[in-house]
């Protein structure tokens, strides 16, 4: 069994929280005491499934989702982590955050409304993040008498909208009615014209590949204690045939410690390792050790940034940058006068410290960072390095 991280997004009142609630309800992930709380909170007879995920007082008072809610359920095939993200435009940054931590997206479209400006924003975010798999759940099919025509229209409009984005993910379209559970966990009997599977079946079936090629091995140093190096595997897998480098200098042999079953020989992407070596060079937190023969070691990069704080003008351009265990200060060339909250823009970064990247990590959009304000220390932006600035 593996973990699948899925996020849902939609425009206001698309029924997104209801869809998550329905998925949890129909896969028996809601306990009776929580059901009783829902019934008690709700004045009407209809079960308000949104109350399951809107966990903050402000959200319940306003009737909207403000921040990401995490929900967990397990089927025979996968353990799911569902992230319910806000639909309101002003909380797009929270949606970006939720989406960044997932491998697949469920984007809701109200069949009676069609594509909205928020739908386009969601598609843009999914494209920027390089999300491998996106499902468009065409919701509220009950409002169009479960007829195929409305679904087809939505599907065609979405397909056209997708054409303007490069790096198209794998896409599916599923007609659903979240309120009644049609095509959520169980296939709907009201739409026999639809031959595909229900939503849960779709997200259960997908496998997201990881990078397991030994020539792409990259370790990032989390920190050092005494003579030990603590690191995580950013990509690849280890094969002693490929020598390892640090700042373009070949390293002496690593002395592997077989820690909880992870030795250097068996380590894989995403794992945590510890090792030591004779004649250890001066390592620093955030440094990378790699097998790749062509690292890109530079200070100047082109990046895409999602601004997550109050609007600023271009004169505010110095920030702290955190990327994994790597930290530095950075000057940002905004290339525009004004930057507003939720803007996604291409910028130039000038790092104070050199960063070591690789063609394959850049291509997979894995050189990710956050920017924080040097006075307040708040996280103000998220971004991905695209390429070296030449």
């Amino acid at each position: 069994m593996e973990i699948a991280r899925v996020f849902t997004a939609g425009s206001v009142n698309d029924g997104k929280s209801t869809l998550i609630g329905r998925m949890l309800l129909d896969s028996n992930a809601i306990s009776t005491d929580i059901m009783q709380q829902l019934t008690a909170l709700n004045a009407t007879d209809v079960l308000d499934l949104a109350l399951l995920t809107d966990g903050l007082r402000a959200e319940r008072d306003l009737g909207i989702t403000i921040d990401v809610a995490y929900k967990y359920f397990t089927t025979k095939r996968k353990k799911f982590i569902l992230l319910d993200t806000p639909g309101h435009k002003e909380y797009t940054r929270n949606m970006f955050t939720g989406a960044s931590n997932c491998q697949m997206a469920i984007l809701l479209v109200d069949v009676t409304q069609g594509i909205t400006s928020q739908t386009l924003k969601h598609i843009e975010i999914v494209a920027i993040l390089g999300m491998p798999y996106v499902i468009f759940a065409i919701n509220k099919m009950d409002k169009v008498d479960f007829q195929e025509a409305g679904f087809i229209r939505c599907q065609q409009d979405l397909w056209s909208a997708l054409q303007s984005f490069p790096d198209l993910p794998k896409v599916d379209f599923i007609p659903v009615c979240a309120l009644d559970g049609d095509n959520i966990v169980h296939p709907s009997v009201k739409m026999d014209w639809y031959k595909g599977g229900a939503l849960l079946e779709a997200i259960e079936a997908v496998e997201i590949p990881l990078d397991f090629s030994p020539e792409n091995l990259v370790l990032e140093i989390q920190g050092l204690m005494e003579n030990y190096v603590f690191a995580n595997v950013v990509s690849g897998t280890y094969d002693p045939q490929y020598p390892l480098f640090h700042k373009e200098i070949a390293l002496p042999r690593l002395q592997s410690l077989n820690v909880h079953g992870i030795s250097l020989q068996t380590m894989k992407q995403g794992e945590q390792v510890v090792f030591s070596m004779d004649g250890m060079p001066v390592f620093q937190k955030g440094d990378r050790i790699y097998a790749d023969s062509c690292p890109i070691i530079a200070r100047d990069f082109v990046a895409v940034v999602c601004w997550m704080s109050e609007g600023i003008n271009e004169s505010k351009n110095t920030f702290g940058l955190i990327s994994g265990s790597f930290e530095t200060t950075v000057h940002v060339d905004w290339k525009q006068a004004q930057i507003e909250i939720n803007d996604m823009v291409e910028v130039d970064l000038h790092l104070e410290k050199e960063r070591c990247c690789f063609e394959h990590t850049l291509a997979k959009k894995r050189e990710r960072f956050i920017l924080y304000d040097l006075d307040t220390f708040s996280t103000v932006a998220a971004g991905m390095i695209k390429n070296e600035l030449k």
Partner: protein, 314 residues
Amino acid sequence: MLLNQEVRCLNVIPLKMDYLKELESEAISILRSAAFQFQNPYLLFSGGKDSICLVHLAMKAFYPLQVPFKLLHVDTGHNFSETMVFRDEFVEKYKLDCHVQSVIDSIRNHKIPDAKGKFPSRNALQSVALLDAINALKIDACIGGARRDEEKARAKERIFSFRNDQGEWNPIQQRPEPWNLLNGKIHPGENVRVFPLSNWTELDVWNYILQENIELPSLYFAHERLCLVLPDGALMAFNPYMRLESGDELVECRVRFRTIGDMTCTAAIASNATTVEEVIKELEMSKISERGATRLDDRISPAGMEDRKRQGYF
């Protein structure tokens, strides 16, 4: 169908880590981030299964070295004696350094009224003692075993959860954590709560306990105990702090605890599960949530947890 594609596998080779390994790896990465980002991190230890798992994960995270965190136990004075014995043996066995912060001291020092009522719970008062410890020991990060699946306000919380210089949580101004990039930058006096088990469920914790053969206090397994049966069926272990009223009847029951909090606010559940395997089987069949089954302190209002967290709670 015009455009609908068949759902297919992008890659037929299953290369993913097993899910417990993935959760473990995520937790270890968070623990290492805490160790390398903060000056004086403490691990909040209650003697419950989640914080025991946290210590186990910390031992793995920093092997072959010692756990680089001191433990902090906020002691309400209402703990089960089994928990206290377990804590002392555990600390001794693994050579850990455990600071005990007494809620009773905080009650005295701040001249705040002690808990009253039939079940006098010092649960909310723990926040005061925790903040006292944070100030006195100059703690900049508290690593806790809270999980997002426990409660709907917790479900909204970050992995590195920022607290201002009053120890307060502001749930609608949280630092975004895209790609789980953790920002632990703070000013003196502020602190961060670190939650490595954020994405674990109760069942994940138990499956991990089974896989890793982790020792737990005996309270987690079925035993005979004198209990007061509440009108809603909840079983409160008889303890010296509860005030019995006429008509209250104590019954010998076979029970275990799903969570271990104060004796005064943690209910037992009827159970015959004596092993980790049996507990897992029982949980898989259970229709009641972990806190719903056991915590009187959550039954105050829908925002009970959010309000306590805003004031500095774990």
